[in-house]
Amino acid sequence: MTAAFLILATLTVAGTAAAMGLRNAVHCVLALTVGFAGVAALYLQLDAQFVGFTQVMVYVGAVAILAVFAIMMTHSPTPVPLPAYSRHWLAGSIVAAAVFAVLAWAIRAGSTSAPCLPPQPGISVQQIGDALMHRYVLPLEIMGLLLTAALIGAVVIAMDRKEESK
Amino acid sequence: MFGDGILKGLAETARNFFGSYRSKNRLTTIQYPEERLPQIEAARSFPFLVYDGADWQQGMRCVACQICEKECPPKCILIKKSADKKPDATGKLQAYPAVFDIDISVCMSCQICVEVCPFDAIKMDVDYDLPTADRFAGLLLDKQKLSKSNQYYHQIHPTEAAAVDAALAAERAAAAAKAKAAADAAAAKAAAPAPAPQVQPAGGEPR
């Protein structure tokens, strides 16, 4: 429970809470981006450099941009003022409390089985690369296939619209 | 060759860059206000009043006929005719403008006042260095500021000024010759006493 962890955890929780609480959709995405950055900083604090920088590059650099593009393309230009809190707050709080209880129980049950692990040596990028190419090559290839399918699907969708508008 | 367009372009700009330090052709900037481009003779900025001789009030050619005031499209000229008369260059008594104002913030340099003036009194100046801190009174030129000598007119528009001077001299010579012929005829008439009624020729001659 170092000071760095407390600060970063507060930042992440505040960012994601703001992402749920703010009215303006783009503000929500920007607050979520702060949450992403907080998670990346937590990875860095755990000495996982590769994962931390990849988190910034992928989430802040690409996913956040994707989210704001989506909001901008679909939302109306004048933001409709919605009430900040939903009418069904009681049911929502019960569900949130239940999910929190399940997660807390799962983490506690998992951590008591192997308490206080000895500090691991730092994982280098070379080791990650070796693991990806030897042990986890099948998930890597499946992921590549999935991304290719997504790219082709995007191109097909874009092409269809161009032919319709002719 | 692949990529030769970009390479040729880069070579050209490099030639421009290094050439601008060596030859004046490549660097054509005139550093105003220390250097100025020479003006052509037909340049014009705003009108001015011409005066002959040394005294600007005595030698002013303008007789306040007010044609330029009427013809000016944006109506930037204000003329008030004087009550008395003064002799002009040929000795004839003419009126003169008591007030002659041109507002150069309105003037559009169209030169119509110059074209319609029958007395070659108003001509176009070439001076564009007219900055002032007061944008209303500073840009309203009165009679004194507008009067510039015939020598100045010769400086800025030499061929035009020479042509105007030649035309004016020819007119004065013709007028003098006519006056002399009329004086001779009057003297001959006074010398010959035969009172035979004769039809007098029409006296008025077109100028």
Partner: protein, 391 residues
């Protein structure tokens, strides 16, 4: 003696840190390095604005600024005073919080990128194991700030400019990273210090820079094209083209915030140039082994100035690319060439040394390059427009 001159800043920092207690030394060391970066690169920014205006002027057959100080050398100071004293106008319907934060985020991201550039021997702010990845991660934050600037102004032109800018930046980020992958493959490490150390060796006075190999040369060219597009510089400056969209996503900014955008853009240009120097041009290493007596940081800044001069030269030469031409160039030329470059780097690594290696690798990049370029020049068949109501 040359060794001392080379390490003068390191020695000075160690001497300064000697006055502090041991517990405060890491933090103080970082703070000193940060101060050095914050002073050096904005100063370089001021010099670059002067160079650009004079250089572009001479290329365009005119003098640049020459009234403020001798040869206009005080022009950056005049520009700074002007931008500081201008009125800060924010549109009435703009989103004030986001409008304020966008230039800050841009400048912060641009400054962060300098943390992994080795400016001289033993002169890097932090030697990260994944330094190159950190650099590109920080570079991708710039796109978010561009979006924030464009969207918060609530103006059609700024939004349009932001869209174009983000599309361009994302399209060119892929070839940028792929051109780097070839270097990483060869160097075997993501750390910038390791990459430079590998290039700092000599064989018979000739250096081992990566740009002197086929894959390194092609990678360098592709990296420079992508870097020009990433910093929105001519000929890729359609998002901020002054004659088209009048400053694009930062139209509604005035005064100091505009100066911050300008600063952030130029800092990004320096950072990507610095990364190009680190990856391909040997970082702080001298070009010939008999020139190593000149300090390492001098070499780095000389190379940086050379690249900046090249950027200015290109700006004065090439016309602006249209948006569709820009995108076609990215996806149909630069990206396939970057992928081929990776293949060539692998072939280079596994083939035995010699002339055959050079010929094979050069053939693998040259032939597709010419074919792809011919494909780009192919004339598009445009439809004949039929007007319905104009008869």
């Amino acid at each position: 003696m040359t060794q001392t001159l080379d390490q003068i800043f390191v020695i000075a920092k160690a001497w300064l840190l000697g006055y502090l207690p041991v517990a405060a030394r890491p933090l103080a060391s970082a703070v000193l390095c940060v101060i050095a970066i914050v002073i050096t690169f904005p100063l370089l920014f001021a010099i670059t604005t002067w160079l650009e205006r004079k250089g572009l002027g001479r290329i365009q057959n005119r003098l640049g600024p020459n009234r403020t100080g001798p040869f206009g050398l005080f022009q950056p100071i005049a520009d700074a005073i002007k931008s500081l004293t201008k009125e800060d106008i924010v549109p009435l319907t703009a989103d004030h919080a986001v409008h304020f934060l966008a230039p800050l985020l841009l400048v912060a991201a641009a400054f962060l990128a300098y943390a992994v550039l080795p400016v001289g021997r033993n002169m890097v702010l932090v030697n990260l194991n994944a330094g190159v990845l950190f650099f590109f991660a920080v570079g991708s934050v710039v796109e978010l700030s561009v979006f924030m600037a464009g969207w918060s102004s609530r103006s059609k032109y700024s939004l349009l400019g932001a869209m174009r800018a983000i599309a361009q930046m994302i399209s060119y980020e892929v070839p940028l990273v792929l051109a780097t992958v070839a270097v990483i493959m060869q160097a075997g490490s993501l750390s910038t210090v390791d990459i430079v150390n590998q290039q700092a060796t000599y064989t018979h006075t000739l250096p081992h820079w990566f740009v002197f190999t086929p894959w390194g040369f092609v990678g360098f060219v592709l990296f420079m094209i992508a870097a020009t597009a990433e910093s929105n510089r001519s000929p890729f400056d359609l998002p901020e083209g002054e004659s088209e969209i009048i400053a694009g996503y930062y139209i509604e900014y005035s005064g100091f915030k505009f100066a911050l955008f300008f600063l952030g853009e130029y800092l990004g240009m320096f950072a990507t140039s610095g990364m190009a120097i680190t990856l391909f041009l040997g970082g702080w290493a001298a070009p010939f082994s008999f020139l190593t007596w000149i300090p390492s940081y001098v070499w780095f800044f000389l190379k940086l100035l050379a690249l900046i001069g090249f950027f200015i030269w290109i700006r004065g030469t090439l016309p602006r690319l249209r948006m569709d031409q820009l995108m076609n160039l990215a996806w149909e030329f630069v990206l396939p060439m970057a992928l081929l470059n990776m293949l060539v780097a692998g072939v280079w690594h596994f083939m035995p040394h010699g002339l055959l290696r050079w010929l094979v690798c050069t053939a693998i990049v040259a032939i597709p390059c010419i074919l792809l370029a011919a494909g780009l020049k192919r004339k598009k068949k445009f439809q004949v427009r039929t007007y319905q109501f104009a008869e």
